[in-house]
Symmetry: D2
Subunit: 313 residues, 4 copies
């Protein structure tokens, strides 16, 4: 069942590529690993793969594609076949910087995804060699110094359809969800591991398709999230939601917008699910109305803003 | 392959049961969940199962048995059969407080283990009901307030044999190891999940069999580990190793002895392994001689002390 | 000039004395040090004086008096004389649990205050003796485990009058203030030490006199403030403002109401003022409208609620 | 009495000036504020004065002088006169980058010191302007990002003489001390404020005069000290003592050597002394033999190494 290992990388679109690279390098503290075909490939210091983020210029912000790494060549074949059946498959591409052949498809909401197995292990240049051999790269302590890509939150016009695809075709396990009083499912938190969430679908307020809510990068401590807020503040990054603790999944968050407009989270915390018979937590409308874990009311834009930006109908 | 979910519980032996219970309740901050047959069953606030620790009186400290939870009834059957083949199987027991039928066996070093699937979900009494529904129990903030059982470190006369059994019969993945200059493997860090380590075998300095090095309980932050040191200090708990960061697995640690003599760790941190082709890190004798991550020299007793206590030959 | 050392204690009024004691002992983690005359005297583990908080039953919540410790017997005489001149003096009382003769007076807003020098040094009973001799009491790790009384925020109908009294008669140094567009001074943050604030006056939204905005207890880390929010949540304490960072004075805060209705803060952080020529920071109306340091909008009740509770005219 | 405000700056000598500047800028995260006469002037982001550290090339490492800021022009005159009486005065100099006329003298151990009042307030260039007006400079998040110069520890052949000079001529208050079994005073922790320590004298193991033990820079959290250890590790800075908590003064520490050889501490924590009748804590030889707060044994070099380096007789 666990044919898919994790979200290995993401391609973000930005109308302001230079400023976006500046944000991810200087503010988030990532490293530029490669430039090719007009795109810039970045990595976090705690990642064993070469790259987890590809930035590509575009008219509008948004997510170009999300890359999922399979657990083995056989698992890759199995998943590709399972997706092929759904009619959402697009076929194979040769690969990209850092990874080999990938099977392209879309989720039911139109987000472009790809599955791959072959991945290039990061080989640090001398000035980035770490002191500890169980760490892929030197810790440079620049900006937020995010450790790795953690999770992706996608907006979907039809959350149940997207959630079913993720659980049935990709093998995600459902951990938490929101069901409104009228029965509508407006959020689904899923994972391939003990981490509480790795892939999230939430309802698109405008019924649009294929949009990104946010991409989250991990730091090991809440102190680093608090510090990231100071860094955002003094680097003129718009803070949409100041550090606090989510009720759903209990992650500790900070949300801001990178210069291209995509929402970025610096995150840590949450909980682990070790129990094989864990029953998904269901949040009601009334419970969600209480705000975040400590009562912070969620800012309105958090429920509506996504990339690309769309106008309310 | 991932037939086993996690280490669900541990039974510790103690010659001073009352003081040991006092330590786990007042200092570590666990809850007493049941008493039966002279044993006391305890739980941490973040555990969905009823109990993760059983304390049983005995002449000597040590580990009575370790309980592993299977991922499904079928997985349980498969693993029991696989162990049966090795001749290390002991057969089925009816169960215990909090779990159903279990297949008993020993690892090659003689540590008693059991595999089970049926597990009672924790149902908090009114005064322990949490405010957040994705949390199994109220957070009481007593002592160290450990969140859950994290990992177990077992001493073994023959590390490679124990490590092979764990990887081949139980499905553990090997993440880090120590290989001395003479080729001897003296430590193996293994996991069933993305967590860097869940089960560890290290060489028993006296060549004894079936001993416990330590059991580790998780807290979410390094600040809580530092605070735990203050708590140990002011509750007269012997601190064997003050808070610092391990080189191997990069866990943040505090080690002390509970009144019965068993070594207990309060831990957090480390790293996650998402890569399916992660290659086990191998530490050499020279690298280990450098001490912990920040150069702290490991205290001698850490290499020799275990429970039950044995005398050097 | 520095004739006054610090705010040594506070007497709070509560219509629910038993529940209030429960809050300060179980949730904040203070110790009950004495009971006398129907009042309960409490202390935090990091205080060298016997007691910093006196709880007294009353019809309404509020502050009964605030005790300021002078730096010497001579300083006490000097300050008493300086206050006497203003006509706000009430004369001497014999003392109370933990301190000797005190000179009673009110500030221009009607808050009862007292100045004293003789103070009883805390002598811990055996079960509360600390391990480190530079710590007055054992660290018990119960609830929020606040370390000491940190600062007091008083509502005042006339902030400039109160601020002038504090700086001219008590020797406080002004560090930060709020001046509205119409020239009104609505807040003054003052200190007797390098700490950014120890005594605050903010404008009473209802023009009432003698009310309390909040009393703040110190913890050493932001992690403890975050943890305190979890404790408040699971102990049914109303969280008025979840943890975040103030713009003014940069303190890290959590605000809740104790059962009697008084607002209590758990705080840490801020900055130190070492410069003798430090110029008070002046915040404008526009700057304050931006919310707290990371953009959190201040909840409306924070601007209006105080004890005793008064109704808007 | 409190005529002196704080240690405003320090001049360190280094045989490797370029590497030393690199350390303070890239690893500690300070800003270069000026270069003049071959010296480099640095500042931390939380300082209202222009500069707190002057680096000057020399054959040997060590401290060239320590600058103390007086609380007023009158206080400066009073202190200069009080020092003049002792015969340790050297007379006035015109000033230096960032400050005006200073009275030069030596302590009884030969450390060069100066007292000044006029100090240039830091005026950040546009790219270093902070978002919060109660912060002197933008937070750049480079390396350890130390906030300010915190304290200085000087080695002295005769600790009582140096301690007496500091308390009687400069107005320091004694908070903690070490008295050996033979009656020798080998350490004195003193302060001009509520901070537990700002100036420390400890016995020089070799009986040398005028040496530096260490200079400490402040960060606001223990997490930043732990993070600093990771930064030291991955920037090849020799870690002499990994993060832990001192018994004396309870500061949380990390010690390393800058490239020139001077010992540098990254520090936070400790406690505040508000009590005017606080009695200095006296540590005995037996108590100090227990190691640091959590039992960490102090590394031998910590008792002997200082700058300039001297050979044991």
């Amino acid at each position: 069942m666990f044919d898919v290992a994790h979200i290995g990388h993401l391609e973000l679109l930005t109308p302001r590529p230079q400023e976006s690279v500046g944000f991810f390098v200087d503010v988030l503290g990532m490293e530029e690993e490669a430039r090719e075909g007009g795109s810039v490939y970045l990595r976090s210091w705690g990642e064993w793969q070469r790259t987890s983020l590809k930035l590509t210029e575009s008219d509008q912000a948004g997510i170009a594609h999300m890359g999922l790494r399979a657990n083995s060549p056989e698992a890759l074949e199995r998943r590709a076949a399972a997706i092929e059946e759904t009619g959402l498959g697009d076929g194979w591409i040769d690969g990209d910087v850092g990874h080999g052949p990938a099977y392209r498809f879309t989720d039911p909401d139109g987000h472009v995804m790809e599955l791959y197995y072959e991945s290039e292990r990061y080989n640090p240049p001398p000035h980035l060699r770490p002191s500890l051999k169980n760490q892929p790269q030197r810790y440079r302590a620049r900006g937020c110094a995010v450790k790795r890509l953690d999770h992706v939150n996608l907006l979907a016009a039809d959350v149940p359809a997207a959630r079913e695809f993720a659980t049935e075709r990709l093998g995600y396990r459902l951990h938490e969800r929101i069901i409104l009083d009228d029965g509508r499912e407006t959020g689904a938190w899923m994972s391939l591991s003990i981490a509480a969430h790795e892939l999230i679908y939430v309802a698109d307020a405008y019924g649009a398709r294929g949009r990104l809510h946010h991409v989250a990068f991990w730091v090991d401590t809440r102190e680093e999230v608090l510090r990231a807020a100071d860094i955002f503040l003094d680097h003129d990054v718009h803070i949409e939601a100041a550090p606090s603790k989510h009720a759903v999944a209990q992650g500790f968050f900070l949300y801001g917008y990178e210069p291209g407009g995509n929402r970025v989270e610096v995150t840590t915390g949450g909980y682990f699910v070790y129990d094989p018979d864990f029953e998904p937590i269901v949040w009601t409308e009334a419970e969600r109305a209480k705000g975040q874990a400590w009562g912070v009311k969620t800012v309105e834009s958090f429920h509506t803003y996504g990339t690309p930006v769309v106008e309310p109908a």
